[in-house]
Symmetry: C2
Subunit: 374 residues, 2 copies
Amino acid sequence: VVESVAMTLSAVPRLHEAIGRVRPVDVTWRDRAEARLDELTKPPHSLGRLEWIAARLCAIQETVTPRVAPRRIVVFAADHGVTEEGVSAYPSAVTAQMVGNFLRGGAAINVLARAAAADVCVVDVGVAGDIDASGQAAAFVSRRVRPGTRNMTKGPAMSEDELASALRVGLDIADGAARDGVAVIACGDMGIGNTTASSAMTAAFLGVAAAQVTGPGTGIDGEMLARKIDVVRRALATNQPGHDPLAILRTVGGLEIAAIVGAYVGAAAHRMAIVGDGFIATSAALVAASICPPFLDCWFAGHRSSEPGHTLQLGFLRRRPLLDLEMRLGEGTGAALAMPLFAAAAAVMNEMTTFDSAGVAGRTENPGRMAILP
Amino acid sequence: VVESVAMTLSAVPRLHEAIGRVRPVDVTWRDRAEARLDELTKPPHSLGRLEWIAARLCAIQETVTPRVAPRRIVVFAADHGVTEEGVSAYPSAVTAQMVGNFLRGGAAINVLARAAAADVCVVDVGVAGDIDASGQAAAFVSRRVRPGTRNMTKGPAMSEDELASALRVGLDIADGAARDGVAVIACGDMGIGNTTASSAMTAAFLGVAAAQVTGPGTGIDGEMLARKIDVVRRALATNQPGHDPLAILRTVGGLEIAAIVGAYVGAAAHRMAIVGDGFIATSAALVAASICPPFLDCWFAGHRSSEPGHTLQLGFLRRRPLLDLEMRLGEGTGAALAMPLFAAAAAVMNEMTTFDSAGVAGRTENPGRMAILP
């Protein structure tokens, strides 16, 4: 008989306290924003989901003139003991090497964050290898909880203390972003093996078979994919996390995923707009939404990853992604590509003129606002 | 018996000459770009359709370091005689009023172009009303061919001479953009009544019933939508354009749509990347693709409009849109929102580092490039 791994929130007091500060948005601000949108020189609702983003931003910030700067992308990096089972096309050493690459500015997230006018902060929450931290292209925060998780096929990936520490890292990052006035934040990931952890988490949350939520990750197939599915199945059988969110996170998650959970809850407590990324970051969103439902009022599905489990995650969260470009890189790259939509939505609210002030004739009858689904 | 309205390209010599300068892209440049993309520090193909954009840009420009600036959005404005049939929620006067709004900088396209770092050029190719051209927020080109088309339910919307003039306006705009070094261009539209013309064009091109391609436009339904469908049906019955592209454009098109055809062909001849917009601009793409198939090598489906006929148009052109945000405003707004994806794709090519130079370990086996569909 396996001992219960269920955890209560009181075991992680910092997180518990932050959850208490997350409140649902006041929908009257959304209504005010929509009324304003209908006065602007365009047919009502004709900017579609951009208007939905705009109204959400307004509700989060309790204004009809939302701001979208500064923007920040935080990349949480950590290693995974489960890589010793042979689940990735890349060696674990790549995690530390890519952190060095982020700091030197040569990775996809550096380039795409720059294009989105967002700054980049890289957080070592559990990298196993040595990091060349000489690069100056991104901020670097060293908060290594341990050098990678334990192999989850043999027992819990983390201890309760390690989980609490990783969550605290994310909460601290959110507090720092709030001090810097960040209006729009995204969390990305770097960690060889982390699609395996995310597959296990997603199977547990959604109650589906490992094969349904385990995909190519960085690009495996055939025999290696079959092994990865088996590893996910064994990790769940060993740990038996049930449906308990913190037990799932602790036993089959990752240090970077736990840190993202902390950052997500903290960012929602500080009323930032949170742009979701792909399969790994959305695994963290499953946890955050489960332990803190109003978190979702601040969270936007930035894009749909081509990793098959991501579509199931988005369905579970009942969100349609803003972008669908068949990307599967992680690092926050999907969120970075979505950020210009937030800048555009805010610009519509702040810079467009009204029919009255432009001297443009309106339509005769004014239709009711159509339902705009998220 | 209706006299044949078919037109040969020799009737429009400027267009004919420009078509002769449009050549298919050299796919070896796409292959070189893809080889370069596979050296960058990311799993192969993991940036999905962004890599497809990047490779296309490279093939268009015959380089592996593509440029995406300057960017320009040209809004062609004209009125439609068919509005006297009662097909729009807005009066025709709005066309001229919105042109004034564009020049003062208060419209959606001004705001979204600014967010995309694109300049805006507004072209009066056939507005019926007086324009207050005192605003300085956009360039203004006055090339009015006639004050709106004729009512297409009673005969051809344009004469052959008028069509040739409108096409020339677009060709001149493309030449001007080339002189200014424009790398990425989009064409938008302003013209009350132009979804009715586009519906008629689309029904003729695709050989489908008017009801299938006639939608709410700026927001009509019920009795008014039924009338609009009947108007489209009558316009096609009166003019019998068959499947002849220039006959369709002349008899049931619009002056702004014809100008976009000219600008599209001209921009392809100058090897600009062309970002498609919604239902009106894509009606012009149907013509351009029919008379000049290699035009499509330079044209990208920027977004999917919620106007139902647009999805059918994109299917006909065999393109998946980059964005799908339920927008239906026109003006080039969908293209403007897609432009940051081009900037991002070029930045990936120009700014990311390679595995070798970053000292990051690659994967063991290198998979073949997967087919990336447009």
